[in-house]
Amino acid sequence: MPIEITMPRLSDTMEVGTILHWHVAVGDSVSSGDLLADIETDKATMELQSFDDGQVSQLIVSEGNQVDVGTVIATLLEDGEAKVEEVPEAPTPTIQKVVETGHRVSPVARRLAEVYGVDLQTVQGSGPSGRIIKRDILQVVDTVSETTAAAKTTSAPTPVVPSTPIQPLVSASPWQEERTVPLSNMRQIIAKRLVESKQTIPHYQVTMSFDMDPLLEMRKTLNKQLASVGIKLSVNDFLVRCCALSMATNPEFNASFGGDSIHYHGPVNVGIAIALPEERGGGLVVGTIKHADQKSLRTISQESQYLSKKARENGLSPDEIGDTTFTISNLGMFGVDNFTAIINPPNSAILAVGAAIEKPVVRGGELAVGNEMSATLSLDHRVIDGAMAAIYLKTLKELIENPASLLV
């Protein structure tokens, strides 16, 4: 019997998936754990791995096509299957399967193993009778992502090469042609969620400027000292910590509007908006730094770099994009002075951050040259009133302008 490979359900809300790219061709031999395809879901781009050994006999759904979850997208022939068909008298096939059923796996553990591509054969079950349970799979996933993150931070920094392609001045470029492009799954989600946000949440904005000299000075010192261990803190890493710490005295900023109630979240999970490159279909995702108020600048920096890199290269897993309680969108690195952002539901606020810009400033009654950064909060007025926003920004300002407290 050929093994049927179906479109897996990779997130709770996924109903359809798009094959972005096949990593195998008909006739290729694959083993369990090999990468078969990149699949775009409603939330992220994820890898589909093989759970079986065999030979690819059919690729039923071609690249760029969208199918329902559960649809057969390819088939594999088990090793030696073609021969068995030719020699029908060999009646010994079932023994292997009997051996495999020795594994007890809880349903959700099996599903998570599929999502994260964990080979169940390699997992030691901790449940009754050696049942593999959720905790066992998450432990494997954690270990893998920690080693990936560690490997990343110790590697030598790669030089930044400007990647803007230079368009020739003559001859009509493809981008000038009139065309209609169907929405990617991600763009559909962005369109739906942000319209919903903007239409249902009574948005308003409050802006404040921050003296960035002390923070930039401290960042320079720290980065000089940490260069040897491969750590480079970004301004955004500092802001993640500042915003998270400010929740302690301003819990409404870590809350969600719930119709007839306001829900205050326990953990502070700060989302960071990550723009995706054009070649991966563009768009943006919000990566989550969980319990950001309890993490050091170094940990925030490592996680943030890991999330950005993974988002751009492989796509983020549902766990890495869920459960945000507050979001930061930073366009400072593009030299933007200031802008306003749309709230990322169910958050009640988002901080839009501009660049730290060198400009004439008045310090102690004197005209001087200093770095100033403007940041704009967008707020859900059902949860947060203007005066509360002002108090939050004041808390933030005290942290940013006296950054030594971020180290403790």
Binding site: D12, S106, P107, V108, A109, R110, R111, S126, G127, I133, K134, R135, H263, D385, A387, M388
Partner: protein
Amino acid sequence: MSVATAQRVIEFREALREAMIEEMRNDERVFLIGEEVAQYNGAYKVSKGMLDEFGSRRVIDTPISESGFSGMCIGSAMRGLRPIVEFMSWSFSLVAADPILNNAAKMLYMSGGQFGCPIVFRGNDGAGGQLASTHSWCVESLYANVPGLKMAIPYDPYDAKGLLKTAIRDDNPVFFLESERLLSTTGHVPEEEYTVPFGQALIRSEGTDCTLISFGRPLHFCLEASEELAKEGIYCEVIDGRTIRPLDIDTMVHSVRKTNACVVVDQSWSFASVGSEIASQIHAICFDDLDNYVHRVHSDDVPTPYSHNLEQAYLPNTRKICEAVRAATYNA
């Protein structure tokens, strides 16, 4: 900033009374009937003062004859009135099983849609405390088995009033199960008009590790267990189902998809129960989200003991719930 409003706090029994009084003022077809509801102000003082306001045509004392007055009220409901029938205890409804199950629940169906039966049966359900085997009935599993009726079990005064108003306005027979142990509990009930719709469960406490589902009084033990377990780092999401028919399985499943573990706490016996029904539905709808089978906590499979100690050990309690959650989350 938040505006501090003085919250009106009343007893569960007062909330029930307010629901009945408001609906009787609004709708002349509504009346209350049962043993001791009028002159004695109700065996549990739920109907206190109602005879004075509405008179003996609308607040009616009956003899000890559940089968008779239930059947009579079903007839009046079929002819256009909207009776509220108080059972002093649901234990006493057993002698009226034929009219309430065979007539009320099936009338719309059997009459081919000619006669509805907009009636509310309400009263104390479950162990009241040392009332022994025959007077400590939990009828939810027994009666929820029957199609054609609705069943609500309020946990706090807010829901007691809101759900009872919905029950009285409903065109179907509603079995409204109160707990004697909750009648004196207090809670916020707004002065403004409101109702609580059927079929919408309420998340009473949020959590990430185990979904705890219950109805009525055992929710108190679920919330206690949830606090106890939080100290061990196990965070429960406590769901108040509010109504058994209709059952808001969607909210329950949504939570289980998040926690991957579930314990159902049902004060009736385990065999063929509301608990086994919910467990079965969860297994069917979100099997792939479960890290363990759905665990259940019920009353023990014996008649209710009279002895105080034995009765406490027999009922679902905080200790049993904690043990079940630890087992369901592999923390035993």
